[in-house]
């Protein structure tokens, strides 16, 4: 079975938020608040329990390729639809103590809502800050990669609703190649800081939701080198065992007098 993936292209996104709307309607997600952030046109702020697609609006004092901004100083307005990365080595999946979070046959990371008991350990184990506990429900939620739609042979709701094909859905290897080619094309056209965001060299081991972005990933709040937190287990346990041995020795010494 091929591995499903997203390729979200910032150079094609127009910030229409159709993906956010489609995702909410298809998955019947409750509202994520009706407050103004003051951050450009972005009032959703971040991915969360009730925000499974999030369109970022970046206002940067940098030129966009050779485009003229129409004002004196360089300026660019960028958009990108962010989503759960469905990591090859997923922190949430590793952390889940109930086995609620599983890897599906399409390679996605899925939270089974009938198993999750809301312990909250996945929340602190996601290096991307995606999964979150919904306070009124108690369970943890995130993008399902429209597993129900994929099972029925349909593409995810966000990709289906995207009017510019900024969100592309398909096989991981195909999209990796397509992303690479797209970056080459963009660079040829003068967008010298175009790059693909796919942290494959880290312990996360690559993601299934790639993005074509401009400039550093930090500007999109994408961690430049995310690590799956299980890599910290070995040193933490080593310290725990050494400390336990020392503590036991102290207790023995105290009572042997």
């Amino acid at each position: 079975m091929p591995i499903s993936a997203f390729l979200t292209d910032a150079s094609l996104c127009i910030g229409c938020k159709a993906c956010e709307v489609a995702c909410k309607e298809w998955n019947e997600i409750p509202d994520d608040g009706f407050s103004w952030s003051g951050n450009s046109y972005d009032n959703t702020r971040a991915l969360g329990a009730s925000t499974w697609r999030h369109v970022l609006f970046l206002e940067q004092k940098q030129p966009m390729g050779s485009q003229l901004a129409g004002i004196d100083e360089p300026f660019r307005w960028q958009f990108l639809s962010d989503v759960c990365k469905h990591c090859a080595n997923a922190g949430c999946l590793e952390a889940c103590p109930t086995g609620s979070i599983v890897r599906t046959e399409v390679g996605s990371v899925f939270v089974q809502p009938d198993i999750c008991n809301g312990c909250g350990y996945c929340v602190v184990s996601c290096p991307f800050g995606v999964i979150e506990k919904r306070p009124d429900d108690g369970r943890a939620f995130k993008c399902t990669f429209c597993y129900d739609r994929q099972k029925a042979g349909l593409i995810p709701a966000c990709a289906k609703a995207c009017p510019t094909e900024s969100i592309q859905f398909g096989d991981l290897e195909v999209l990796r190649q397509r992303g690479k080619k797209r970056v080459e094309v963009l660079q040829e056209r003068g967008y010298s800081d175009a790059r693909i965001y796919n942290p494959q060299e880290t312990t996360v081991g690559g993601i299934h939701a790639l993005s074509v972005i401009f400039g550093e990933p930090e500007a999109y709040n994408l961690p430049p080198a995310p690590e799956v937190p299980t890599v910290y287990l070995k040193s933490a346990w080593t310290s725990a065992f050494i400390s336990a041995a020392i503590i036991l020795a102290i207790v023995c010494a105290a009572f042997s007098f």
Partner: protein, 334 residues
């Protein structure tokens, strides 16, 4: 009333403002103040918003960390005391401490769940790579061992002497001691192996702190129960001594990632906790350790400090999750 509070606006007042402003400008120039440089490429973030999600755990979890530490180390103290044929009354208090702790822990953990009725799902799988899964099993096994030890101890002390009870007591006590050590330390591994920078960057320090703190607390409870024997004094000295070292280490080592351990609500709480567990308890023992009041005071100091410290570490995690720049800095460094 509203008109009275409003300052009278006159031309003179405007002149005053102008003069004050120009004086301030001179001061600023004299101080050679320069505006902050525009952020470097690595210091950018998305409107300064958090990358990570803050821990959703409520007040029950730090309290559980505290009680789990006491229960685990009490079991360890009971086993060692039994091994060295110490006062049976002390062993009894320690064993009951372990059992009561083990009884309260699941209540706290279940109360913190988003879906408390599904708590049994915790035992649906056994995952070594998930400290939370391992912890649920550790707590379950510990409760069983502590229960076995208490039952056998009470039977034996009531005159039901039977070689079976004796061997079961040893089995219960030794396994409760071993699993108790895990119970007191896995919580440190649990938060150490997360994406939260201040926790994961202190993953080696946290188990030392949690175990020492658990040891000091179990000794403090014995002292407060009236066991003012040399053994509890030695344990009190050792625990507050190690805590003083940890506190000093944290104060000396200044890393950007440790900012929540020094500033804000978590920083203040952790400092107070560190002082109580470390220097305060240690000095009380050094100067008034020979009188019962001094030892009681040291014990209470240590207990309060240990409890506060667990809350401070959870709050530090929340503060750490909110800071995107520290996260980026850490990831760019390596």
């Amino acid at each position: 009333m509203k008109t009275a509070a409003k300052p009278k606006m006159t031309e003179e007042r405007l002149e005053e403002i102008r003069k004050a402003a120009s004086e301030t400008t001179k001061e600023v120039l004299a101080a050679q103040y320069s505006p902050r440089k525009p952020p470097a490429q690595s210091e950018q973030s998305y409107y300064g918003l958090a990358v990570l999600k803050a821990p959703a755990w409520t007040w029950e979890v730090p309290l559980y960390f505290f009680l789990g530490g006491i229960a685990g180390l009490s079991a360890c103290v009971a086993f060692v005391a039994q091994f060295f044929r110490s006062d049976p009354a002390l062993i009894r208090v320690s064993l009951w401490g372990a059992l009561l702790g083990a009884a309260m822990c699941p209540v706290l953990l279940i109360a913190d769940l988003g879906r408390p009725t599904r708590f049994l799902n915790m035992l649906r799988v056994f995952k070594l790579r998930s400290a939370m899964s391992l912890g649920a099993w550790i707590l379950a096994v510990f409760s069983g061992c502590a229960f076995l030890a208490v039952v056998c101890f009470e039977l034996l002390s009531r005159g039901f002497t039977n070689p079976l009870w004796t061997s079961l007591l040893w089995l219960g006590e030794s396994s409760a001691a071993a699993v108790g050590m895990l119970l007191a330390s896995y919580t440190a591994v649990l938060i150490g192996a997360t994406a939260i920078p201040v926790w994961s960057e202190n993953r080696k320090l946290l188990p030392v702190h949690f175990l020492t703190s658990g040891l000091g607390c179990s000794a403090a409870i014995l002292e407060l129960a009236g066991f003012l024997i040399p053994a509890t004094q030695v344990l009190g000295f050792a625990a507050s001594g190690i805590e003083t070292l940890i506190e000093t280490f944290l104060e000396v080592r200044k890393r950007p990632v440790d900012a929540p351990l020094h500033h804000g609500k978590s920083g203040t709480t952790l400092r107070i906790a560190g002082l109580l567990e470390g220097p305060a308890a240690l000095l009380l023992r050094v100067f008034w350790g020979s009188v019962p009041a001094g030892r009681y005071a040291a014990a209470v100091c240590f207990l309060i400090g240990a409890l506060l410290s667990r809350y401070a570490w959870i709050w530090a995690g929340r503060a750490s999750a909110r800071d995107p720049h520290v996260l980026f800095h850490l990831q760019r460094r390596t």
